[in-house]
Structure formats: structure tokens, C-alpha cells
Point group: C2
Chain length 103, copies 2
Amino acid sequence: MKNFKPYYAVIFTSTQATDIKGYSVMAEKMENLAKQQKGYLGMDSARNDVGITISYWKSLEAIKNWKANTAHLFAQQKGREQWYNWYNVRICKVEREYEFTLE
Amino acid sequence: MKNFKPYYAVIFTSTQATDIKGYSVMAEKMENLAKQQKGYLGMDSARNDVGITISYWKSLEAIKNWKANTAHLFAQQKGREQWYNWYNVRICKVEREYEFTLE
């Protein structure tokens, strides 16, 4: 991902409601759909008490287009109506990056 | 956190080694120590296949100081020697933020 610098990260943090019926199917669908978008670079995701999904994008325009994607808009609405008690979205510019790999 | 804009996020993603003895004690210690640092704003953390810890800071200087903190330097070294197979650090500027809370 370092080859695309500067690039952008969308940090999505959330807490889920009690009834999350349909959530995991939709989450997988959205991940697959995101991967097909222009400017998509990658994704990291984990959930314990709080869920964190970070998606990486080449530009702010790519993020804007993904946010406005029709199927994604529907998923966002379902999220607000059913799956999430709370969520927060941060749009970030990745300014520096370094990596460690065990030899 | 919105009151401190622009502010910074450090995205730390990692995969752990097999032997993580001592890790959770150190992680808790580092979280408590980070909270005491000047310019610290908050932290989000979750781990499944990949671990994600995001810490939020008022400035790049605050991030630099935390990285160079003696006890934290020791923890970073232990991490490379024992706990992590891989990690990646991204320094990001938070450019926009929005939130949803269930009414």
C-alpha cells in the first residue's frame, strides 16, 4: 500500500445492537463490493467490545463514491435502523507508514 | 474528540506470534501509560485474526514523544522479539468525522 502514498483511511468504529440478524451476510457482501470499487486499496477488520473496520482508498473521491454507492447506501440505512447502537466514521489521510516483519 | 480537530490517529495493525506470554500485562500497562501522555485523546482496540489498535493524538509531536517514551521503547522491543510476527504502523491526519447514535 506504500506505493500509493498519500492515500486515505476510513476508520469505522461501532457498537452493535442486540439483534444483528442479517448483519454478517451484509458485511461480507459489502466487503466484496468495496473490493470492486475504483480506488480501493484494502481493509482491516476486528471486533470485540467495539468493532473496528478500516478501509484504505487512493483518494477522497473514491471514498465519496463508495459512500454514495446505491447498495452501500441501503446497507448503511439498515445499519442505522437495526444493527448499530452507535458508530463513528473518521476520514484520514495516511501521512507516514512503517512495517515490521519477523525475519 | 471532534473538538480537537485537526488531530491524528496512529493505526497499529498486527499479527501475533504463538508465544504471547506477558503480552496482555504489557498491553494494559502501555494503555495506562499512553493515557498519561500529553496530547493523548483516546484509543480503540480489537483483535480477531488481525489486531487493530488505534490511538488518537492532538499533534505529531505528541505521537513522536510517545514513540520515544523509554518504557514504551522497551515494550516495542519486546514486541518485535517475542509477541509479533508482523505489524504495521500508519500515522494519519483525521480530516473529517461524523457519528451516529441511536435515538
